[in-house]
Every structure is written in structure tokens, then in C-alpha cells.
Symmetry: C2
Subunit: 189 residues, 2 copies
């Protein structure tokens, strides 16, 4: 499949996902901008999130279940509500934005990585050589167990501190999305 055909197919999938509300809203302008370049097409994304995960046992993410998931600042009471529903190993996580972008050729991928790095996304690189898929992401993270077998292991005040840090780290990582948007806009001119 040539690039134009490949991009057309991927764009169709993206448009459908948008219509179904499956794309994080706050990242849509950026994805649209990326897709407006002939040489790029987005293949998947998450705008960054805070989540409460219930895991059946240590590390088994395949069977993990989200008890709560937020792409923006979250309130402590909502986190607490989600944590209380957990029955196994309950984790509080904050993950930074992650975007996968297929590129027409290696030099497009190179330019994208350079712009991503300059925008603060220091964990960016080519993860697949088929269609030169670039992963753009950064390092802000929070990840800890907060309850075991129905019992919360942190005091309310400690859990509040964790949520506060999660919110601040999420905000910081989302700032980078704005920088990336601006850098790509400048490239457009």
C-alpha cells in the first residue's frame, strides 16, 4: 500500500473514532493539525490521564479494570469513590500524553522527533519501521498501590497529596501538548 492510500485509510479510522467520541477531546486540535501535514498521520493517542486501576494480581495489566479514568484535573472525592470500589490491588496512576504518528519517510520522522524533543517530550522515537511510526511521550508519572483487598493503605491526607501531585504532573505534561501545537503551527507557515 502506498503512503497516500495508507494515510487515507488511517484518516478514515481517525474520523470515525472522533465521531464515536473515542478520541480525548482536548487533544483533537493537535491531532487535526498533525494530520493536516501531507507527511504525517496519527494512528493512536491518549492526551494523558489519571486513573484508578483494579488489578487481579501483581502487574497483570491485561486483566486490569479501570474503576475511574480522567483526562483532566480530578477531584479527590471522585478518586476516593473509585478506590473504594476496588477489590484486589488498586493502583493510582498518572500517565503523560502519548501519540503515535506514522510518517511518509525517515526524514519526516526525524523532523517530528526533533520537534517533539524540543517541546519537552523527551521520550520520543521510532517504534516501528513499517510506516515509520513515531511515539511521542514524556516522563511525568505517578504510579503507586493505594488499596489491597478492599483496604485503603494510605491515610486520607496522604491520598490527597498523591492526587494533588497527580493533578500537577498531568497539567505539566499537558503544557507540552501546547508547545508541540505551537511548534507544528510554526512549521506550517
Amino acid at each position: 500500500m502506498n503512503w497516500v492510500e495508507y494515510k487515507r485509510k488511517k484518516l478514515e479510522g481517525y474520523t470515525l473514532a472522533k465521531e464515536r467520541g473515542e478520541v480525548d477531546e482536548d487533544i483533537i486540535p493537535l491531532l487535526d493539525l498533525i494530520n493536516s501535514f501531507d507527511c504525517f498521520v496519527t494512528t493512536s493517542s491518549c492526551s494523558g490521564r489519571i486513573g484508578i486501576l483494579d488489578m487481579p494480581e501483581f502487574g497483570d495489566k491485561v486483566e486490569a479494570k479501570f474503576l475511574g479514568k480522567w483526562h483532566d484535573m480530578v477531584e479527590f472525592k471522585d478518586v476516593l469513590k473509585a478506590v473504594r470500589r476496588g477489590q484486589r490491588v488498586v493502583w493510582l496512576i498518572m500517565y503523560p500524553p502519548i501519540i503515535h504518528i506514522a510518517c511518509r519517510d525517515l526524514s519526516c520522522a526525524e523532523e517530528l522527533i526533533s520537534i517533539a524533543n524540543k517541546s519537552g517530550f523527551r521520550r520520543s522515537g521510532i517504534i516501528s519501521l513499517k510506516n515509520w511510526v513515531v511515539e511521542i511521550t514524556s516522563l511525568e508519572r505517578l504510579e503507586l498501590p493505594v488499596a489491597l483487598n478492599g483496604e485503603i493503605i494510605l491515610s486520607e491526607s496522604a491520598l490527597k497529596i498523591m492526587v494533588d501531585f497527580a493533578n500537577r504532573k498531568l497539567a505539566k505534561s499537558k503544557e507540552k501538548l501546547k508547545r508541540l501545537y505551537k511548534a507544528l503551527e510554526e512549521l506550517k507557515v
Copy 2:
């Protein structure tokens, strides 16, 4: 600089770092194996670690200071000792192994990424196109604040649980180093 010359220089640096004890010991056999391939040379590495970091303020890793750092299972009492020395925002972190490997050409990089992924290092990709530097790493992490301004915010039992999870996640991520070693050994035959 051609590849042979580049590799020779990088290997010199690696040998010197080994002599100075600056390379994590448990990863040396793997690095030696990687460097025994004509098409690869390691440029930096960490075998995975648990650490206690004192940060001057939110997220400012540049000025962060390690109060404790362990490349293997750590005992709770040693963690507690390090946490108690913290004065600002004290974080407990567990990071998986990370290895940077320059490759002779794109097809070597491609093979390396494929082997890394199969060994469980699901966060592997080309991070620099100059010398095709591949970053090999995975997703096991634990990262949380444990003390603020000299005050520990977790109960002793909660902190013990965190250290226990950090140890188990570190062990799990280090298992992948063994799988990578075996896969590379098989490639050698």
C-alpha cells in the same frame, strides 16, 4: 567518522567506565554480549533501580539529589533511613532497566528492536538517527512522594508495601534482561 572508528571510541569509553566501577555490575555480561556483535555498541545503561530522591520543588529533577540508590532488592530499613534524611519533596522511585545501543545501520536497529520487544522490553525504539541509537526499556514503574518538608506522609506499614512492590517490579523488569541475553546468545550461533 565511520562505524568501525565510532565503535572503537565508544568501546574505549565503556571499558574505562567498567574499570572505574561506573557500570551496574549485574548488566555487564549483557553489555559485553551486545558489544561482541560487529553491528552494535552500547552507549549508556542502567540495570534498573530503586531510589529515594530529594527534590527542591515539584518536578525539578535537575536539582534532585539521590538519598539512596539500589540496583537490586532493597531492605525496608535502608529505604527508611534514606527517606528520613530528606528535607524537601522526597520521592520513592523504581525505574526499569534502560540501555542505549548505537547500531551500524537501520537493519541492525530493526533486528534489535524486534528482539527487545520479544524479550518483554515493550518500550523500545530508535531515539536518535545519528548512529541509529536504540533505546531498550520497559514499563514497570513505581513513583510516588513519600515525605514533604521532613515529614513522612505514609504509615510505616504503607511504606513497607511500597518497598515490597518496588522490589517485585524491579525483579520482574530484571527478568527481561535475562531473556534479552538469551535471545542475543541464540542470534550469535
